[in-house]
């Protein structure tokens, strides 16, 4: 198995392993919670968007979630949208749907106006938060594909049945086919993580001396990041596909996680 295959296999199986942990964790008294508030023992991570929504919905800061959310945010500040590439069980599913159809996907960045993309998803996030505060329930949590997958996997394992809410997944997938790619254009959680992770020091950069300008890195990128124009870098999910597929290894192993900001991280040590 080549290195590329190994990295890809790990990346694609990690979300499945997390789901297995969600399902089997409680029987071993080890892992509790769905991905929303997953915890091993007393170490807990919590969804920052879920926290914002329940806090706004209850008109009250939910103090119990403060530390778990802070830990998640620190990870995001350091690693950007790494959750989207390596943990999210919906992301790969969505991207498969995206690849199956669609001119917006095939023609890549040209059809997608970046300014519009960013303002649309900020408006989406803002209105989800506003609706949570007005109607007093966490609006996105109901339709969140990650939550839906976790809840249904849990109930499938415990009771052998799934809920009707599983139907949201094909609805979202249809949205992916007809409107815009979910992960990079719609997902409010992705937008939240992007906001916190936009200054992450660990982003792929291209070695200009080796680059032949083939733009394969842009084509393989699920998140519509253009490394050549260094645009939309905040959406990078650290999936490493660009560096693994680069024919001249211009985004190679040692270099892929290095960047100009790294000096301050080194200074910490």
């Amino acid at each position: 198995m080549s290195r590329a295959q190994l990295v890809r296999a790990v990346r694609l199986s990690l979300p499945m392993l997390v789901l297995v942990a969600v399902v089997l964790g409680p029987t071993l008294h080890l892992v509790y919670g769905s991905i929303c508030t997953i915890g091993i023992g007393s170490i807990t991570l919590a969804c920052p968007l879920g926290f914002l929504q329940v806090s706004l919905a209850s008109h009250n800061m939910i103090l119990g979630l403060l530390t778990p959310v802070a830990v998640t945010i620190v990870f995001t500040i350091l690693l950007g949208r790494v959750f989207c590439g390596w943990i999210c069980p919906a992301g790969d599913l969505m991207q498969r749907f995206g690849e199956a159809g669609l001119p917006t996907k095939a023609s890549g960045l040209r059809l997608v106006n970046l300014v519009e993309q960013n303002s649309t998803r900020l408006v989406l996030l803002g209105s989800v938060l506003a609706a949570s505060a007005i109607f007093r329930y966490p609006v996105f949590c109901i339709a969140c594909p990650i939550g839906i997958i976790c809840r249904n996997v849990i109930s499938l394992f415990r009771y052998g049945s799934v809920g009707l809410d599983l139907l949201f997944i094909p609805v979202i997938a249809a949205m992916e086919l007809g409107l815009a790619p979910w992960c990079s254009h719609i997902c409010p959680l992705g937008t939240t993580l992007r906001i916190f992770g936009q200054k992450s020091p660990l982003v792929p950069i291209v070695d200009k001396a080796k680059c032949i300008g083939c733009s394969i890195c842009t084509k393989v990128c699920n998140m519509k990041v253009s490394l050549l124009q260094t645009s939309n870098l905040e959406d990078c999910s650290r999936c490493m596909e660009c560096s693994l597929r680069c024919p001249t290894k211009a985004i190679d192993g040692e270099r892929e996680l290095s960047c100009s900001h790294l000096s301050w991280l080194r200074a910490l040590y």
Binding site: G25, P26, Y32, G33, S34, C36, T37, T44, A46, C47, G50, F51, Q53, V54, A57, S58, H59, N60, I62, G64, L65, P68, E116, S119, T120, V123, L124, G126, S127, V128, A130, A131, S132, I134, F135, R136, Y137, P138, V139, C141, I142, G147, C150, R151, I154, S155, R158, Y159, G163, L164, D165
Partner: protein, 195 residues
Amino acid sequence: MKRREFLKLFGVGVAVISLSDVFPRIIRGKELVRPPGALAEDALNAVCIRCARCAQICPTGAIVLASLSDGFKELGTPRIDALRGPCERVQGRCERQAKCAEICPTGAILQVDRRILKMGSAIINADRCIAWRGGSCLVCYEVCPVQGAISLIDEARPIFHADICVGCGRCVYACPAQPKALTLTPEGERRLLPV
């Protein structure tokens, strides 16, 4: 910003906010039996992050997640399904403290003194009850952990006192009649307001 783009963004915002109001109106919430110490209905739906921890830790499996048929706002929140198991807060594995309240990360379920607990009440359908139909069965009377919630007429037929019953669902779970003669309802429940 171009006018067209602004209108599009405005439309997106209005659509999301109005759908968030329309869906709960179409798919209305049912009256559900909630775990011991659950906040009042509106507060619970606001605070619960739908993470399923309570359902995972419940030792009897009594806590299940509300499905879409239980209501749109209610989706993913915990409810007690006495057919899957009884709540053991009053007597059993959660006597010392409620495990669901202990693990809840948002405070949607709080520790409540088990002596003041009232999750709902069990209701009997005499037409289905083995004892009321002339058979011999005292299962509900024997499993009931609350003194005086079930009394017997002629030492044979059970009658239920909703004001004393705490709604743990033990009798419903144990009822041997097919279909069950007992149902658990949230009637008379006492819930907490958020702090």
